[in-house]
């Protein structure tokens, strides 16, 4: 396996209202191999989006990546890059698509121009060649009648079509990693199905690694190879997808599953997680899920590290110690 991305102890801070700084991301580590899909799942405010922005040093100021954090793209130390060399990895090594394509598309240029511009920024090709490649990309992402649509402006396209254009732009530089941050959250469910199909197909044909950032466990299933669940700035559980869905172990992950209404099986009253997600400025001491956790105990007052619960399966909960053996045995 070729490792394409390595993130270690990533910490991202923002200035607090009353002086000082607070951490929005607190010690996140993960890796991504070539062709692999890792999903980072969490609710709003857990730090998943800002984590993905950090990969290309796109954390908006006054946010700051703290020293001690490591982000490596292959052999490249992203945090040591400056100016031109930083610009060169953006798009070329890592492509990004976001929830709202309209904010990333320039309204005064045709979509063809914008894709071609991306191609010419990274490859020495003629304008005609860039246009040809743009046309091919539009075809690849399933835009009907691409030779006409290539001259459309973003506002002339539907939300689903704009997201396809965004994907085409991200692919233009043939990146080895695609970061998809809530790529279908703003779309209707039938359009979401179309976009997910395009992403699945392209991942296969281009052999890209995908970092899928989402709040929706449903789109993770059957798509990601591994899942990391984030809560309050930390990864609280990570496992191969099938394992996470069959044996969710962290009380937060279990709470998420119990909260999701299902389209099949018996209809039962939902079991919500009590309370609400704390703001990054108000994270409790010890285990951050402790005030909402039905299984919290004395030891939860100390912050747990990620502890093993099975093969390639870890969680940030002291329960892993006591039940660890039993859970591990049940796994593999």
């Amino acid at each position: 396996m070729t490792r394409v991305l390595e993130v270690e102890e990533l910490r991202i801070s923002f200035p607090a209202e009353r002086g000082g700084r607070f951490l929005a991301v607190d010690g996140v580590s993960f890796t991504l191999d070539r062709g692999e899909t890792l999903a980072i799942v969490g609710e709003s405010g857990c730090g998943k989006s800002i984590t993905s922005l950090a990969l290309l040093r796109l954390v908006p100021p006054p946010g700051r990546i703290e020293s001690g954090s490591v982000i490596r793209l292959g052999d490249t130390d992203v945090l040591a890059l400056e100016g031109e060399s930083l610009r060169r990895i953006r798009g070329r090594r890592v492509g990004m698509i976001f929830q709202d394509p309209m904010t990333s598309l320039n309204p005064v240029f045709t979509v063809g121009n914008q894709i071609a511009e991306g191609i010419r920024a990274h490859f020495k090709v003629s304008k005609a060649e860039a246009r040809d490649r743009s046309l091919h990309l539009l075809q690849e992402v399933g835009i009907p009648d691409p030779s006409t649509r290539i001259d459309s402006y973003p506002h002339q396209l539907s939300g689903g079509m704009r997201q396809r254009v965004m994907i085409a732009m991200a692919l233009a530089a043939e990146p080895e990693i695609l970061v998809a941050d809530e790529p279908t959250t703003a779309l209707d469910v039938t359009v979401q199905a179309q976009i997910l199909e395009v992403l699945d197909r392209l991942r296969e044909s281009h052999g890209m690694a995908v970092l899928l950032i989402t709040h929706d466990l449903g789109i993770v299933a059957g798509r990601a190879d591994r899942v990391a669940v984030m809560y309050a700035g930390q990864i609280v559980e990570e496992a191969p997808t099938a394992r996470l869905f069959s044996a969710p172990s962290h009380p937060y992950t279990q709470g998420l599953f119990a909260s999701v209404p299902r389209i099949t099986g018996p209809v039962r009253r939902l079991t919500p997680i009590r309370g609400s997600v704390p703001a990054p400025t108000a994270w409790p001491s010890g285990c951050r899920f402790r005030p909402r956790c039905p299984q919290a105990f004395d030891k939860s007052e100390t912050m747990p590290p990620l502890l093993p619960v099975g093969l390639e399966h870890r969680m940030r909960c002291w329960l892993a110690e006591g039940a660890g053996g039993a859970m591990g045995a049940g796994g593999q």
Binding site: V189, T190, R223, A242
Partner: protein, 352 residues
């Protein structure tokens, strides 16, 4: 507005007076005419194009569809937050569309609405207590210290600390604001609430809390809901009956379990198949129908069956392009498809 026409418009004969039925909507039409200072008037946007539905006392009926299908316009028109273009709506024997202002205000005591984003419907300068008390005072349901007591008990009922009455909307999370919106709606003791995507903006853990709260309130107060949503899994959790909308029309309706287990309209089948299922085994084994193309514009809907431009039914043909299918009983639901008898099920359709 004349009502005797009811029985012949409605696909099933309904007794003129039905003590179970709280709300009857018949052939509701809402067209918006675009235009204004800088734009020439274009063809009307046919947001709602002949919708009929009933809501019984104490029941939840879900109105499901994707953005632009007209589901929110139905809810708003029933409450006369928007005026209908045509059609009829009866609430507990009252002809909603014939009411004058004063009568309408009286009706709003019994029909309320909660929105997707409660923040936009709460006055930021008004304390939570005043916001909840407003309806009680307008309708003179209580005076003096009794108002405060009612506000406190309403906040408690929706799971908020009564002490929050003195605070302001910006101090609360999305889930708490939705609870405030619900308390405000409940303050006037309604029998019916239009819930317009009430959990769509909430995180899943909080969404579950609000769904449970709505179910508890229904049980305790005998409330009826028209639950407007796009998420079929949420709908399955809360509604007894479902109506699926596409381009301003109801294309299928029926009891929730029947409609979800044996859908007869191809659009319902596609919607169901697109629901992401949090189960890797099932989501791999399940065949998925991916619809072609985009939703047509509601200002220029296709002739014939509104769904024919995206339909995958093996029997689709010229008739679908010419003739609007009517909602009729097929199997265990009512579906508006010429070939509903042979619509392939979710699990029978291969990659389309």
């Amino acid at each position: 507005m004349q009502f005797p026409a009811f029985t012949c418009i409605h696909p099933r004969p309904t007794p003129a007076v039905d003590r179970m039925t709280l709300l009857q909507v018949r052939d509701l039409v809402k067209h918006y005419t675009p235009g204004g200072l800088f734009r020439a008037a274009g063809p009307p946007v046919r947001a709602v194009d002949g919708v009929s539905l009933d809501v019984n006392r104490g029941e939840t009926v879900a109105l499901v569809g994707e953005s632009g299908c007209g589901k929110s316009s139905v809810g708003r028109t029933i409450l006369r937050l928007q005026e209908p273009t045509r059609g009829a709506a009866m609430f507990d024997g009252i002809d909603i569309f014939s009411l004058d202002r004063r009568e309408l205000r009286r009706l709003r005591r019994r029909m309320q609405i909660i929105f997707q984003d409660p923040y936009s419907s709460l006055n930021p300068r008004m304390s939570v207590g005043s916001a909840v008390a407003e309806g009680i005072e307008i309708h003179r349901l209580a005076t003096g210290a009794e108002v405060g007591r009612r506000v406190a008990s309403l906040l408690e009922e929706v799971g908020l600390d009564p002490g929050y009455a003195r605070r302001y909307p910006h101090e609360f999370s999305g889930g708490q604001r939705q609870r405030i919106g619900i308390a405000r709606a409940l303050a006037v003791e309604p029998a019916f609430i239009v819930c317009d995507e009430p959990v769509s903006a909430l995180d899943v853990s909080v969404q579950a809390q609000v769904l449970n709260l709505l179910a508890d309130l229904q049980r305790d107060r005998g409330l009826a809901y028209l639950f407007i949503a796009h998420d079929l899994a949420v709908v399955r959790q809360i509604a007894q009956r479902v109506a699926v909308m596409y381009l301003g029309r109801i294309v299928e309706q029926g009891a929730t379990e029947q409609l979800l287990s044996e859908p007869r309209h191809p659009y319902t089948v596609a919607l169901l198949s697109a629901v992401p299922e949090p189960d890797p085994a099932r989501s791999r084994s399940r065949s998925r129908i991916v619809l072609r193309g985009d939703l047509p514009s509601p200002s220029n809907p296709p002739p014939g069956c509104p769904f024919h431009t995206r339909c995958f039914h093996p029997l689709r043909n010229e008739r679908c392009r010419m003739e609007v299918p009517v909602l009729r009983p097929v199997g265990r639901t009512m579906a508006a498809c010429h070939y509903a008898e042979s619509t392939p099920g979710v699990r029978e359709v291969g990659g389309v």
